[in-house]
Amino acid sequence: MSKPKAKAAQTHQTGIYKSDSVRDVAESLGIANLSETVASSLASDVEYRIHQVIEEASRFMRHARRTTITTLDIDQALRVLNIEPLYGHNPDNPPVFRRALPFPNAANVGPVYFVDDEEIDFDRVLREEKITLPKGVSWTAHWLAVEGVQPLIPENPPAIPKDVAQEITKSPPQANGAFPLTPPSESRSTVKKQQQQQQQLVKQVLSRELQLYYTRLTASLLPPTDSTKRTAALASLRNDAGLQALLPYLIRWLGEGVVTALKEGAQTEADGRSLEVLLDVVSAILENNTLFIEPYLHQLLPAILSTLLHSTLPPSHATHLRTSAAQTLSRLLTQHSTTYPSLSPRIMKTLLVALISSDKSKGTREGAIRGLVGIGKEAVRKGLVEGGGVKVVGSECALGETGPLVDSVMTALHVLHAASDMPESLDATDDGDTVTMRQLQDVLGNFFAEKLYGDKGWALGILSSIKQQS
């Protein structure tokens, strides 16, 4: 009985609902001078009533087989206690309370909570249009136990190792807990979380630096920039390590670039230039030793082949584009055909279709031939001679015509066998030469056979190389 003063001061605060709150409410109603006794006994009564409602609500919660009280429970409790329900709180959208930052100038007010009322921007809401209807209630069935053994299927929780299991059971069933506690003891939920994390796919996040690099790179590559920048960008692509994470984005960017350039007919100079750059980028990527490109080949090839085989490339760039595309293709094949053996047959098939089928433009045919040249001598022989590509091209060419298509065929023929240094023309009167000429016509068709008449050695070489193979 020696220190009652201090104790009294301490216990003054024990009630949860403070008399200050009552006084605040009174002030808001215009009652200024509420005496302390009235306020404190009112506070006590309010607290009791709140407890009454909560106790009632907890019954509804229990019967609803839940472990959290919702506004619905409070509503029901108020109803059975004959109190007008509180309107406007629906259980689908529980209010979120937030704790205000402590006021520096009034430290003793204690924590202040308020309902977090989010401001809704109508423009944003209308734009996002994220209204999804919830799925209806559905059920699934699974075996929780088969003859006393819990099967290890995804529907069942993973088996818990024994020591963990013990820990779980150890942790606290609060004996005689007044309210049904939320069941999951801490350790169990953490175990579950870990499991979930393990099962989740590894999500790679592109670092800010790489994102920045990507935007800068793509910006500096495309035409309206000066060539020094572009060269630097290409050099960076060619040599820098650590771009693997960017590779899928780059490939996609390439594919989209090619598609847009070709879609508009690809007649303008700008398109041609951008196509050139894109091809440079492809070859740069191929040259970079640090990149693991195999998984992306199937995405890369359409871009190259489109450039190669497209019917109408800008005339000023056409030959150059097709040549460099063919070169890139040949590089790609030499690099990757060992690990990807079915690659060159498949490409060849594509090119042959482009070369032989009837309604293809000259540009496409030229591209296909250049592609075949790029693949190699064997492909040229198969495509031009056995597949009859030369005859098809020859039959389409007018007499005495020259042009990139004819050039490309001649290049291909050069690949089959090099032309002689000192050409010696075939003599129509000579018997042996006549046989050769007929053979040439059989194999290459009239148009290109005539082109070879001027060089006997070349013609014989070509014929022998064809015979050798077949």
Binding site: K5, L72, Q76, V80, G148, E155, A175, A178
Partner: protein
């Protein structure tokens, strides 16, 4: 013994005085301060000190009472505690004490005082000082903790009622702060056992609350029964009167001091007025540790009063009600003959000679000691039987033959991890199929299976019921547009069936959360049910026809939400349990109820029929379960022992056991015949929502809010510890761990689910176990 305390009547007059007291003292103190300052300035040191002292002593007395009153208490206390005959005084009224005091011939001044006290009552004056309560309780706690170990479990239960009474007295007299302080100091040590009650009492803060609160009034008006052995009781009496025993002499000022005496007087008052000691001749050690649950508490109202038994003892009450007829219900001879005929015919058709032996299932062997009811005992049922009855009985026989036999007892003898363990596991434990509801918005309070497993129904917080066909058949109702005259036979009836249907169907009609559903059992496992009952928070019970898929009847009568509904095992009748503290019996052909079972002191939370439909078991929030005679409407058994509201019940198919689960997370198994508790099964870590017995009544399966399904051995001995699993000799450390996880040894298996509280557990007649629950998405609140 039952003298009403004068406190209750006069408290209204006391509180306003106290309320105004602080104001007075405040005024006084401001004046005093002025005087003090004056004295100090003049240099009167002695006078200042004297004034300070008197002020402080005034401050001590928080009630603001004058010193003379305090002196009076002290004087009185001395006399009140001077017993004329030691050991006898405890059980006497304070009025008697006063009389004795007058008779003893005290000085005339005291005599005058006593005479003047007549109207107010000495007790009140004795109890107005809040500090003596604290002091008294502290002494009592010290005494209990200081007593011999063998007496401790016996003495500990005394603390709780005395604590409650002290607290309530303080609140009632308006000493809010003192009450809060008292609660804060002493409740933690009591909290583990009495959390629920303590929390409820802590919410009472004003005298009017105590006046209006049911629990508080029960404490005031009822005797709190405490069971004690004779020797323990005499020790307690000795301590109360003489201050001997327990605390060593010399420790503190004990009972020699003035405060101690006043504290002891306060305890004695509570002991005299509000406690009743059930003194047993058994020695302290013989009482089982759980026994206090059954025999301690405010029992007098829980147990219906019979003229014969004056002392409220559940066992005496149960014994006075005589024997129960717990055997299986009789089958009428015609029905049995018809069923036998059908079974014989089918056995001929199937060329299955063994089917002849099935006939024995129709006449279950009588269990010795269990009386079977005769037909005259049964509820009135239609005289004739229908085809569906025969089908049901035939299917029952077939189920009995094809049943998976579960032998949980095989599990107890073998090591779980060995090869034999696996085999025993397969023989002892059931297969459990879990039905999980997804995307349940506000929650599904109930989910139930039809007896033939063709349908599943779930009731939702959003007031509707949803039916699913588990066989993926289309659920079709009847069209509305038809003329009655065109309906002549079943053929024309099927014509008006709806053309298209879905495998799921929504039944709308309630205006509050649906808390319970029950399919009619008439078809048994042979035919699909034709009716569904639902109970809801809108205080109605509704009958739904599954032929038309519409609501047929709304049964009104309960005043409050209906928590549970169940069909009687033979249809026609059903029972409901409600928040209005009653359970009711209804029949489908009347809209008003047939019987009201009143007696529970709080919500009736769950209701279950006995398999022979003669009895009805109810579980309540007053922590008891009761068994009622359905026809007479009388309570025939009361089951006391849970330490929290009951959440669910199950009666074993053989009719002998009742399993009940409560918010104390325990499952109790009761013997219906004697009303005694067989054992207490613990292990769940959250509320148990559903219980179900296997068909042979040898296994109990429970599901609950801790996302697990657990299997229990009904016949096992139970008891704490899991010596089987650890295997090694138990060190004291593992013992304590076992105590913490408190799984009793009859817990056979635990099957966790993924975030799915199990709301229903259902054993089919062939012992397949189905469980249902709604999946809680991890991000939901």
């Amino acid at each position: 013994m039952s003298a009403a305390t004068p406190a209750a009547s006069s408290s209204g007059g006391v509180s306003p005085v106290n309320a105004s007291a602080p104001d007075v003292t405040q005024n006084v103190s401001s004046i005093d301060r002025l005087v003090l300052e004056y004295l100090r300035s003049r240099g009167h040191k002695d006078a200042e000190r004297a004034l300070n002292e008197s002020l402080e002593s005034g401050g001590v007395d928080e009630s603001g009472k004058t010193v003379s009153a305090e002196d009076l208490i002290k004087t009185l206390a001395v006399y009140a505690q001077k017993p004329s005959r030691p050991g006898d005084n405890v059980l006497k009224e304070s009025a008697n004490v006063l009389q004795e005091l007058t008779a003893m011939g005290n000085p005339p001044s005291i005599q005058n005082l006593i005479a003047s006290l007549g109207t107010v009552g000495a007790e009140e004056i004795l109890s107005v000082d809040p500090t003596d309560k604290e002091e008294g309780f502290r002494e009592l706690e010290a005494w209990v903790e200081g007593s011999l170990d063998m007496y401790k479990p016996e003495f500990r239960p005394i603390l709780f009622p005395i604590f409650c009474h002290f607290h309530l007295d303080l609140v009632q007299r308006g000493f809010k702060e003192a009450a809060l302080r008292f609660y804060g100091t002493y409740s933690p040590s009591l909290a583990p056992m009495h959390h629920a009650t303590l929390h409820h009492l802590s919410t009472l803060l004003l005298p009017s609350h105590v006046q209006n609160d049911d629990d508080a009034q029960r404490f005031k008006n009822e005797k709190y029964v405490i069971r004690m052995s004779r020797s323990g009781f005499s020790l307690l009496v000795g301590w109360l009167t003489e201050g001997v025993g327990g605390e060593a002499s010399g420790a503190g000022d004990g009972f020699s001091g003035e405060k101690g005496k006043r504290g002891r007087a306060a305890i004695m008052r509570v002991v005299n007025n509000h406690l009743r000691f059930d003194v047993t001749s058994a020695s302290a050690t013989a009482v089982s540790p759980n026994a206090w649950e059954e025999s301690t508490g405010l029992l007098s109202q829980l147990i219906p009063q019979t003229s014969a038994s004056a002392t409220p003892n559940p066992h005496a009450f149960n014994a006075s009600k005589g024997e129960l007829k717990l055997g299986p219900a009789p089958i009428s001879e015609e029905l049995r003959a018809e069923t036998e005929r059908v079974i014989r015919e089918q056995s001929v058709l199937d060329r299955d000679p063994n089917a002849q032996y099935d006939l024995q299932f129709l006449r279950p062997p009588a269990i010795p000691g269990v009386i079977s009811p005769t037909e005259s005992d049964m509820l009135p049922y239609p005289q004739s039987f229908k085809t569906v009855d025969v089908q049901r009985e035939v299917e029952k026989v077939r189920d009995a033959r094809k049943r998976i036999r579960l032998e949980p007892s095989a599990l107890s003898s073998v090591d779980m991890n060995s090869v034999q363990g696996g085999a025993a596991r397969a023989r002892g434990l059931p297969s459990i199929c879990a039905y999980t509801l997804h995307d349940v918005g506000e929650g599904a309070p109930c989910c139930t299976f039809s007896p033939d497993l063709t349908l599943m129904a779930a009731g939702f917080s959003e007031s509707y019921i949803r039916l699913w066909s588990l066989k993926n058949e289309k659920l079709k109702g009847l069209r509305n547009d038809f003329s009655l005259s065109s309906v002549k036979d079943s053929g024309s009836l099927s014509k008006i069936q709806q053309k298209e249907g879905n495998t799921t169907r929504k039944l709308v009609g309630h205006s509050g959360p649906v808390y319970s559903l029950s399919f009619d059992p008439l078809g048994g496992s042979a035919a699909p049910p034709r009716y569904l009952l639902s109970a809801s928070a809108d205080a109605t019970t509704r009958l739904w026809s599954l032929d038309t898929m519409t609501n047929v009847v709304a049964f009104r009568g309960h005043q409050n939400p209906v928590w549970d509904v169940q069909w009687s095992p033979m249809g026609i009748y059903f029972a409901t349990a409600s928040r209005d503290r009653t359970a009711r019996l209804w029949s489908t052909d009347r809209t008003s109820c047939l019987r009201i079972y009143a007696g529970h002191l709080n919500d009736v939370d769950c209701v279950r029929f006995h398999p022979n439909s003669l009895y009805l078991a109810t579980g309540s929030s007053d922590w008891t379960a009761r068994l009622w005679d359905v026809q007479r409407g009388a309570c025939v058994r009361v089951f006391i022992g849970h330490q929290g509201s009951l959440s669910t019940l199950a009666i074993s198919p053989d009719g002998r056991y009742l399993a009940s689960a409560g918010e104390d997370l325990a499952i109790n198994l009761w013997d219906l015949g004697s009303g005694r508790r067989i054992k207490k099964m613990t292990g769940h870590t959250a509320s148990v929502y559903s219980l179900s017995f296997s068909a042979e009544s040898s296994m109990l399966v429970s599901g609950g809010a801790d996302w697990t399904v657990r299997c229990w051995d009904v016949r096992g001995a139970g008891g704490p510890g899991k010596s089987r699993e650890s295997g090694v000799t138990e060190s004291p450390i593992t013992r304590t761990i076992d105590d913490e996880n408190n799984e009793t040894s009859d817990l056979l298996a635990t099957f966790p689910t993924k975030r799915t509280p199990i709301t229903n557990v259902h054993f089919t007649p062939r012992n397949l176990c189905l469980v249902a629950g709604n999946f809680l998405a991890p991000d939901s609140r």
